[in-house]
């Protein structure tokens, strides 16, 4: 009888041993957070317009010409630097005829009036900073060089501006 009692004690101890050797596990969580800024939006707001040009007479539209210069309007995250890059055509086309377009110029400004604008070379690009309201205005000018025998017609080309943070 006494032996049975003692055996019970040992079995109980072994039982507790088995329980205690079970692996301890615990965990905790943390949070990853981010605040995504406003995506960039670019609008071709105004065409670069040379109007009438005459054979053999070069014509220039300056980037500072707010009436005829090409203009892009940019919006994005306030007060954030951006990179401007351009795809610039070397010629304008009218059917199968072409006319050279050269000497691109650019101005970027925080206001649509071009006040405080900064000149730059579109071929080289620029790194301006968006305004406190997240705006930027970019003008592009260039020169067309019609040949003396340039065929009459409407000549067009596409200028593409890419903006990235």
């Amino acid at each position: 009888m006494r032996s049975i009692t003692k055996l019970s004690l040992v079995v109980a101890a072994l039982g507790m041993t088995g329980t205690a050797l079970q692996a301890q596990t615990n965990n905790a969580a943390i949070t990853a957070t981010a605040s995504v800024a406003t995506p960039i939006n670019v609008v071709g707001a105004q065409q670069l317009s040379f109007g009438n040009v005459f054979p053999g007479v070069n014509k220039t539209v300056a980037a500072t010409d707010v009436t005829n210069g090409g203009r892009f309007d940019v919006t994005g995250q306030t007060s954030t630097p951006v990179t401007l890059s351009f795809t610039l055509p070397a010629t304008l086309s009218s059917g199968g005829n072409t006319m050279p377009i050269v000497s691109y110029t650019g101005v970027h400004a925080l206001l649509a009036t071009q006040a405080g604008g900064i000149a730059f070379s579109p071929a080289a690009g620029a790194n301006p900073t968006l305004s406190g309201t997240g705006a930027l205005f970019v003008w592009v000018g260039a020169q067309v060089q019609p040949a003396t025998n340039q065929v009459a017609g409407v000549y067009t080309g596409s200028i593409t501006m890419t903006v990235v943070y």
Binding site: A13, L21, T25, N26, N27, A29, I30, T31, A37
Partner: protein, 154 residues
């Protein structure tokens, strides 16, 4: 006398498990991973060694080996359910027996990692990540949950 011997055996068997239990295992989330302002189209990397922005867990437990395993989110959730991919590199987690961010052993948070808790029973785990905002990523606040599971190994 004979009865005393039996008692002694029982006490020894009890003493082993009670001693092995020692300190209870606790895991605490100390600091979240903070990406701050993220620009669309521009990956934002937070290094595990970044003292301000990396995530940190503190571990308290018995001296010995533990198995660390993460539950990692693939995306962060933002406004109107918008998702932003979240990536973890092969060395984006770090284990420190001194709990110092400058003294870590890097490991892959996507794989279970065996670490040793030192004599003082304290250690820390740090984690970094990369948020990959798309160029048209919806603006706003994004969050995700990172879980660290710790298991004491026998």
């Amino acid at each position: 006398m004979k009865q005393g011997s039996w008692f002694a055996i029982g006490a020894m068997l009890l003493a082993v498990p009670l001693g092995a239990q020692g300190k209870p295992l606790t895991v605490t989330g100390v600091r979240g991973v903070t990406f701050g302002a993220v620009l669309p189209g521009v990956p934002r990397v937070v290094l595990r060694t970044d003292p301000a922005n990396s995530g940190q867990f503190d571990i308290k437990g018995p001296k010995g080996n533990v198995l660390l395993s993460f539950v990692l989110p693939l995306t962060m959730t933002g406004p109107s359910g918008a998702l932003m991919p979240l990536a973890f590199g092969s060395s984006d987690a770090g284990y420190s027996t001194t709990q110092a961010i400058g003294s870590q052993v890097g490991f892959d948070p996507k794989q279970p990692f065996t670490a040793a808790i030192p004599n003082n029973g304290r250690a820390s785990v740090f984690i970094g990540a990369t948020a990959n905002a798309a160029t048209n990523q919806r603006a706003g606040a994004y969050t995700a949950t990172i879980i660290l599971n710790v298991t004491v190994l026998p």
